[in-house]
Symmetry: C2
Amino acid sequence: MAPAFSPLYQQIKSLILRSLQAGEWKPGDTIPSELELAARFKVSQGTVRKAIDELANDNLVVRRQGKGTFVATHAEQHIQYRFLRLLPDSGSLKTQGPAERRIIECRRLRAPADVARQLGLRSGDSVLQVRRVLSFSSTPAILEDIWLPGATFKGLTLETLAHDKGPMYALFEAQFGVRMVRAVETLKAVSADAEMAALLAIQPGHPLLSVERLAYTYNDVPMELRRGLYLTESRHYHNELS
Amino acid sequence: MAPAFSPLYQQIKSLILRSLQAGEWKPGDTIPSELELAARFKVSQGTVRKAIDELANDNLVVRRQGKGTFVATHAEQHIQYRFLRLLPDSGSLKTQGPAERRIIECRRLRAPADVARQLGLRSGDSVLQVRRVLSFSSTPAILEDIWLPGATFKGLTLETLAHDKGPMYALFEAQFGVRMVRAVETLKAVSADAEMAALLAIQPGHPLLSVERLAYTYNDVPMELRRGLYLTESRHYHNELS
DNA sequence: CAGTGGTCTAGACCACACT
DNA sequence: GTGTGGTCTAGACCACTGC
């Protein structure tokens, strides 16, 4: 048993993935052309092609005809936040102006048991916690707590976060070489308690959409836990099924 | 301008899609082998292959090595409900016993304006409305209203629905030849009103996850509007991002 | 065994972007 | 024009299923 048969293109995919992981090509860079990679790995172009097809499918890489294949990045993608599924209700597709971000808190602490478990840390390991409020048109829309492994995000401070424009995940790429590759979200409906209500400028008891996100880097290593509370009076969480 | 260049495999994909749509092969059937299709369309196997690859990606068709390629179906898929994203919290992957279904109401009426708009009907066209409660282990978990175009689902009655076991979408396939192919969901957090509370055995004001689903058949034709209210005390809506 | 989908190759040619 | 990804072909062979 255990035939362990692995197609050649899967092996090539793994090799390319390893290079991505090792940072041989940075986010936004082009990777070598299909013919170059074919030569490097001593396989045909078609085999490399199939490997890259899968990487593109996984959103690790972006193909652009005539130009090349690029390492995917959370920066410079004209969509502001790749993982944010909250959209304005109004049928209008007008780009709701960029979110205004207010950081409430940013501190290091020993990981609570549940956070440690989800991030694959030992209980008590150092974590960085960020609490912030996102607003659109000066109206609060999201309150979220973010937990990051302290060891990986060593130099990260409130100042860095506060001065930064652009997606947080883009900053993670640039400053810490951490690329968020996929995420799993768990949604529930909850009632606002007094603290949440104050920060979101609503009444206690107001219904909120609770969105817990665990985001992963390469190799299914969890790297961020995010607990968000979304106001859904004039916005909604959008999802496509197939 | 308007180069309108369309790869051959896309054209083949369209042709196969047309046959699926026309019911040349029924859900669960195998479609002709790649070589047969290649002969029929006078192209190489590789071209048919790429067409089928995309159809499989869209979940319209399922490949099974050594056996053939099958028309996807909502029946006989060992997952009970392909579009239901509500899972039990408990880490255990144990299959929560099948949902118990209680139909509260099933009637025909003239489509309200908003329902008509979403289903692409004229306001006042006949629609079938079904209201039901889904329970797990005798505990209510979901209250949902379902709207269907009256013309398409002509013979559908409460009796048919009540006596049927298995996914509703499977019944639609078998009885009306309607295959739900994809869906879009809109989520919000809301407070239970008196009516919802009574049906779900909770207190008014209890937070509920509102899930509005518009399900489509082939050609992006909307065929079902579903407004669900999910209890998320011990269950959650699960979503994967990439 | 025959029949199916899955892999791999080698080469020709097309569409697109830049220079 | 040159180089990139994208399409298409033809044929050989592999892996899985069921007779």
